[in-house]
Amino acid sequence: MTARPRRVMSRVLLNVAALVVIVSSLFPVYWMVNTSLLPASAVRSTTPHWWPDEFTLSNYQEALTDDSLLNALFNSVAVTGLTLVVTLVFAFLGAIAVSRFRFRSRTSFIVAILVIQMIPAEAMIVSVFRVLDGWYLLNTIIGLSFVYIATVLPFTIWTLRGFVNGVPADLEEAAMIDGCSRTGAFWRITFPLLAPGLIATGVFAFIQAWNEFVFALVIMTRPDSLTLPIWLRAFVQATKATDWALVMAASTIMAIPVIVFFLFVQHRMTSGLVAGAVKG
């Protein structure tokens, strides 16, 4: 920033613009939480309640005693947990392979990862539905998790690879000279340095599986196998979008884990892409 004195006017305009950005970014999130804390009667009034002046937790109470929501919550937690654990293990092994070893098909593997990354889920629903149907995996937590693992793996391997590259192989070699076995050097030296990468990719897998909509819509169609997003969508439609207080409570329940985890790793989400692109 230049140290030259700027006109007060542009300073003010700049801060007003910043305020507009802040308000328009925050407002929908605030409005969701605010509505969820109001009784249905207050939500259905002709003048909006700008803050929860008739504070109540009854919407959450109602949501969390609704069997179909609890069931969807359980399905979402199960699918997300399974996806997270399996993805981390597989991606970790894959990233080591791509980063620490040179083999002839390495470049084609990377191209394959990038291409797979670009194939839209929307185009895959038809055939994934049919394939899972053939294996009796429709409406199963395992079936949906497997699809999520496969769709998340390319990106997680790609990201973790960057972390593995960041740990110099010299460190491992030094440990080996000092008498560590190859395996020992890896677990004692490299693995601890990869922890931030594992957390970042883990959160990515979590958010993807928790938010995913298209595959879940096609694969989990039985009322007892819905995941949270699918349940929420169906609930909005079933109530003809009238019980907004309850809908907002359910939305908050769905959004909060994502927001919390997201704040953990947001830094990684941009820096990788930018570092690469700016250099190029």
């Binding site: 328009s24 191209v111 185009a123 994934v128 692109a277």
Partner: protein, 321 residues
């Protein structure tokens, strides 16, 4: 991490026989170790992405309707599905709408995102942190919940927008439906998509802006370059490649938008008149049960998206080598 039985079959450590320097590229032996490490991931990808992709292409050449779902053998009908899809005016209407929505959302996202990034570089520390945190919250919001919240804000009876418009214009807007008319349905959809996409563009651009060396900017301003000239001649060249990558990603993401449109249709809105390509694939193949035609549309979409993302893939590969 012992809860996953599949993990046991893939030893994390390479066999101890390969003692030589691991970074030496010249290894004559077949690469067993990396292959073993990659096997679990490769199996998942082959079974749940590769195999369905093969099926997708095969299916797009087959007559595959309800009868086939219930066990009748599918019959190959050559390119009939493609002919049927590409001569169907509805397909072109859907594609046109998707492209229009994509163009509007991408242009709005890129312009606002870059503007916010530039603004962030000029703000004081406190304001900049406040802007970052707000953008971060918007970014973290799941697309589906964001859509539902916006649906509530634009609600016909008790929505905030109608209330504000009533206060401002003095006319009675209560009862005005924003989702029935396709044009205003798409306007709402574009707002939701843009709102959710701006943070990523703003943060990425801001990060790129912070890599522009200050000395060069100072030198330019000493040489008499004004603010606009500095941006055009120095900052923009630094930003060019990141902006192109962001543009490609935004086009791809907005072209295949699904959750927002599908959820908005559930809140209100006429499905037949507001389908975008992703939702159209779903309705043709799942609701109408014509998996063959759905497969053909899917293949067309994959081809379009891969063509657009060719640039992005090249960029990433260049960075790799």
């Amino acid at each position: 991490m012992t809860t996953v039985p599949a993990e046991a079959s893939a030893p994390p450590a390479p066999p101890p026989t390969s003692r030589p320097d691991p970074e030496k590229p010249k290894r004559r032996r077949f690469p067993w170790a990396p292959l073993a490490l990659l096997t679990p991931a490769l199996i998942m990808l082959a079974v749940f992405i590769g195999w369905p992709l093969v099926q997708l292409v095969i299916m797009s050449f087959q007559k595959f309707g309800r009868a086939q779902i219930f066990g009748a053998p599918p019959e190959f009908i050559g390119i009939d599905n493609y002919v049927a899809v590409l001569t169907d005016p509805e397909f072109w209407a859907v594609l046109g709408r998707s492209v229009a929505l994509c163009v509007v959302s991408v242009v709005a996202t890129m312009l606002l995102g870059v503007a916010i990034a530039v603004m962030m570089t000029k703000l004081g520390a406190v304001m900049r942190t406040a802007v970052s945190v707000s953008l971060l919250l918007a970014w973290a919001m799941p697309a589906l919940t964001a859509t539902i919240v916006w649906g509530w804000i634009f609600d016909t009876q008790y929505g905030l927008v109608n209330w504000v418009l009533t206060q401002v214009t003095g006319q009675n807007w209560v009862g005005h439906s924003w989702l029935i008319d396709p044009a205003s349905f798409y306007a709402v959809a574009a707002i939701i998509i843009t709102w959710g996409a701006i943070p990523f563009v703003a943060f990425s651009t801001y990060a790129a802006l912070s890599q522009v060396p200050d000395e060069v900017l100072e030198a330019a301003s000493l040489d008499g370059a004004g603010g606009f000239a500095r941006f055009r001649l120095i900052v923009f060249p630094y930003l060019r490649s990141i902006l192109l990558v962001l543009l490609v990603l935004q086009i791809i993401w907005d072209l295949r938008v699904f959750a927002q449109i599908y959820a908005l249709q559930s809140i209100g809105g006429v499905r037949a008149e507001t389908n975008t390509i992703g939702v159209y694939i779903y309705s043709v193949s799942m609701a109408s049960g014509d998996l063959g035609a759905g497969g053909a549309i899917s293949v067309v979409l994959v081809v379009i998206l891969l063509a657009i993302s060719g640039y992005w893939i090249r960029t990433m590969l260049k960075e790799e080598s």
